[in-house]
């Protein structure tokens, strides 16, 4: 959406391309029908306007042939549309082979996306990196209520339903940065449940994945150690994990490993920068009302140290 005005018609994958072409075709058919109906109405209104002094025209009750025509004609059109639909479904959402392991797992939470790369052992949140030219099978789950993942340029939308798993394919022909939203009202923070998908060349992706696989090193500098102390003593560790530092006992919040590498904070409510992270830590509720992170009432010093730690130590 940053690049294109109308993402639905700016597909970046073969799947959404199939949808986009189908959509344009159907819109053309609809436009023609609308023109015909509007034309009949408009011309009729002008041509058959009441002339002063004229009485009622002789009654005319219908024309069987015409009525059959406008019954059978649309039925044929509708059958044709159905054939296109069946084919379009197959092209845009191929059924995954049974028992194929997913390449990516996305778990919806109120109000963020948990992202796991099971084969690489990487866990991150809200920002997904993928290599171009490969079709990745994504498994969708939910930890609480129904969410809906939508990347208009990349794939069909799919609901994330607690108690059920769904699958879609994610792929792109060319690199790019794509924005998406949760599209099923999931609570107060729904509007800010955004996601970013970064499609990069296979080499860049491999490099990114390698970085993500590294655990966070223990803090070395003083400021880092201060920040680490705040993180581990101010209840952050109960919900947030940082690989190599701590595993959260509740696991109810985004994994913060390599937070510095991400472009967004709070599932898209802020861009990732030191100032923004500081603001967020001071009062998340003011920035994203309804998010499940409470206001921990950190002092400026604590927030500053924590920001420093998270932004400079992956």
């Amino acid at each position: 959406m940053a690049k294109s005005y109308i993402p639905v018609f700016d597909p970046a994958s073969a799947h959404t391309e199939a949808i986009s072409h189908l959509f344009i075709l159907v819109l053309v058919v609809c436009a023609i029908i609308l023109l015909i109906v509007s034309g009949i109405v408009a011309i009729g209104l002008i041509r058959f306007r009441q002339r002063p002094g004229s009485g009622d025209p002789p009654p005319h009750f219908g024309n069987r042939k015409l009525e059959l025509l406008w019954t059978i004609g649309p039925t044929l059109i509708v059958i044709w549309l159905f054939v296109l639909t069946a084919r379009g479904m197959h092209e845009s959402d191929p059924v995954p082979p049974p028992n194929q392991e997913p390449d990516l797992v996305i778990i919806g939470h109120q109000f963020w996306w948990e992202v796991r790369y099971p084969k690489a052992g990487v866990i991150t949140a809200n920002e997904i990196h993928l290599p171009t030219g490969a079709k990745w099978l994504v498994r969708m789950e939910s930890a609480d209520v129904i969410h809906d993942f939508w990347m208009p340029e990349l794939a069909r939308k799919i609901q994330l339903i607690p108690g059920q798993t769904n699958h879609i394919w994610l792929d792109a022909k060319k690199p790019g940065r794509f924005l998406g939203n949760c599209v099923e009202y999931c609570g107060v923070g729904h509007a800010w449940m955004r996601a970013v998908v970064v499609m990069e060349s296979p080499d860049e992706f491999a490099a990114w994945l390698r970085e993500q696989q590294k655990s966070a090193p223990p803090p070395v500098t003083d400021s880092a150690r201060n920040g680490w102390k705040v993180f581990t003593t101010q209840t952050c560790v109960n919900c947030h994990s940082i690989r190599g530092v701590s595993a959260a006992s509740l696991g109810a919040a985004p994994d913060l490993t390599h937070l510095a590498d991400r472009s967004i904070l709070g599932a898209g409510v802020l861009a990732n920068s030191t100032t923004n992270l500081f603001r967020w830590l001071k009062n998340p509720q003011a920035i994203k009302p309804g998010c499940l992170m409470p206001n921990l009432k950190l002092t400026d010093a604590q927030a500053g140290a924590l920001t420093g730690y998270l932004e400079h130590h992956p």
């Binding site: 058959f48 009654p59 009750f61 639909t85 129904i146 939203n181």
Partner: protein
Amino acid sequence: MSVTVSTAPAVATPPTEVKLRGPYGWVATVDHKRIGILYLLTTLFFFLVGGVEALLMRIQLARPNNTFISPDAFGQLFTMHGTTMIFLVVMPTLIGLANYLVPLMIGARDMAFPRLNALGFWMLPFGGFLLHYSLLAGGAPAVGWFSYAPLSETAYAATAGTDYWGLALLVIGIGSVAASINLIATILTLRAPGLTLRRLPLFVWMVFINSFLVILALPFLNAAIVMLFIDRHLGTHFFVPAHGGSAVMWQHFFWAFGHPEVYIMVLPAFGIISEIVPVFARRPIFGYEFVAGSTVAIALLSFGVWAHHMFAVGLGHPMDMFFSATSLLIAVPTGIKVFAWSATLWGGSIRLTTAMLFAVAFLIQFTIGGLSGITFAVVPIDWQVTGTYYLVAHFHYVLFGGTFFAVLAAVYYWFPKMSGRMLSEKLGKLNFWMAVIGFNTAFFVQHFLGLMGMPRRVYTYADLPGWGLLNLISTLGAFLLGLSVLILLWNIIISLRRGRLAGDNPWQAWTLEWAATSPPPQQNFDRVPPINSRRPLWDLAHPENPDPAVGGRRSRDGFVLEKNRVGMVTFLVSESCFFLMLILAWLFYNSRAMTGPSPAGTLNAHKTGMYTICLLTSSAAIWLAEKQLRAGRHGWFRGLLGLTILLGGIFIFGQGREYLRIYHQGIVVSSNLFTTTFFTLTGFHGLHVCVGLILLLLLMRLSLAGDFKPGRIEAVKSISLYWHFVDAVWIVVFSVVYLKLLL
């Protein structure tokens, strides 16, 4: 074929209405015309409330990252706006119009059940009050008008708002079903001589078919709400996946109601347009039979398309494809109507009054909405645009640009009949142009917003290119639309005082309501004109060129029905749908493996079987009682009636013992999904039995007071039918639950 005939007169006995003056007269009225007007005034009030909610949202959305309204308040606003507009405005407006017009259009004095009519109306303000009381009780519902589970469960929706939502909908639903039963009974039994079903005005025909949709679909909603309530307050897990429930089940149940609901909101509008366009084109409707037949087709198909609201759920391609096929198919009968209305214009002599202007706008706007609907039926397209502002645009085009514009046309068309005065055409045209421009400005751009990626139900959005501008345009259009409503209100107020006197038939229309005075007297007609065709008043004005006598001269329908029986049968059909949902829930949840109490270990089929025999015997008893009453043997009647009550009482006693025995084992409704579905299903059946017992006791009292001596047995026949129904349901429930049929 059997024919039900009774000794009751064919015309509704006029309600003994004391001449009540002033406001109390309106509160106590059972006159369908007053009730119709009460409906319209109430819905007008709620329309303003819902409109303000909409405008508040549009202010918030006019700029990106706006902070005018908090996300929590916004969630309440969109939930209340949707719920209000659907249940407190559109549905009751159409019911109110039907209430006013149907008896007049069929030459009857009043509806079949005037007191039921009044009861149905008062459910509306009561329900509206309940819904809005939530604002004082912790917050309005904030989970969307369709309350998806598990968001609507207590874990995520902790305030009582959702409960008030459910209660309000149950109450309003009672009103809608009551009104529909009334309409069906009225249309089937109170038509003037010569007005066969094939000669019905299209408004009446569409209201008739629509009423079937209401009685069949609303029980689906009631069942779903009841199950949600039980989840929220008794700790059960119908829709809680973490404990074996199913969130998707809520969606199926809700949309099984929700889709017929949208047709319920549009069929009467089709009826309105089918009346107005011919009159102002001065020609009969083009192809009456196709228009009437396509209504039946739409009604039937509307029950088979619901899962097109669930294409993003991942039901699997086969399911998606079947529902896509039916959804595409339903476009055909809808298209037939649009073409018929357009063809009616062709070759006519068109008068562009305000009513006609609104009708023409309906035609175009509804076509746009219908076409965007077709795009949704094409599944891959739905996968892109569902849940976005493209969807918001679609449903506002069909419901506002469609139904509401039809209602506005109806107001301008029938206001003279209701009040005796004409609305100002000048103000009307101003109203029209502001409405059309405002509406299309507000909602056309929303198609683009959806394609640009804007989801629905967001309280704000990022400053992406074009989003702010289009949202601002939409907000401006909405305000223009709001202003047009004020013009309408002003027009109504001043026309009531200073409008031109209308006379009986200012539009030279052809249906029966225009043969009465404006406004009609309490009994509607002193005499009804002769009816030989679909346009009786045309025939009277043009005796040299009457319309063809549909079905032959002086024909009648091949059946005579009695209104109490029709009313009861219709009600029972509706209740069957409710039980059907509970039985489906039972089958679904109990076909899966689960831990905890099981039917085999908990239930006692033998004991319950004995009580079942009691219940079935009671049916035989009341059947015999009816025969005795017909033969005039009142002593025997009372004896057998007493036996019925006794046997029914034994059954309830047995049920109670069974419940108590289970409870003493430490098993409660929330133990697992078996106990939940068991208690829900048998509990509701038991409730129906108790209601039946109360009715039977009332009959006994009436009999002791000598009420049946003159041979008035309608009440007995209706109540015994209810009792048989209750027994029939128990046979199914017993077979499914205790004998494990179908599992």
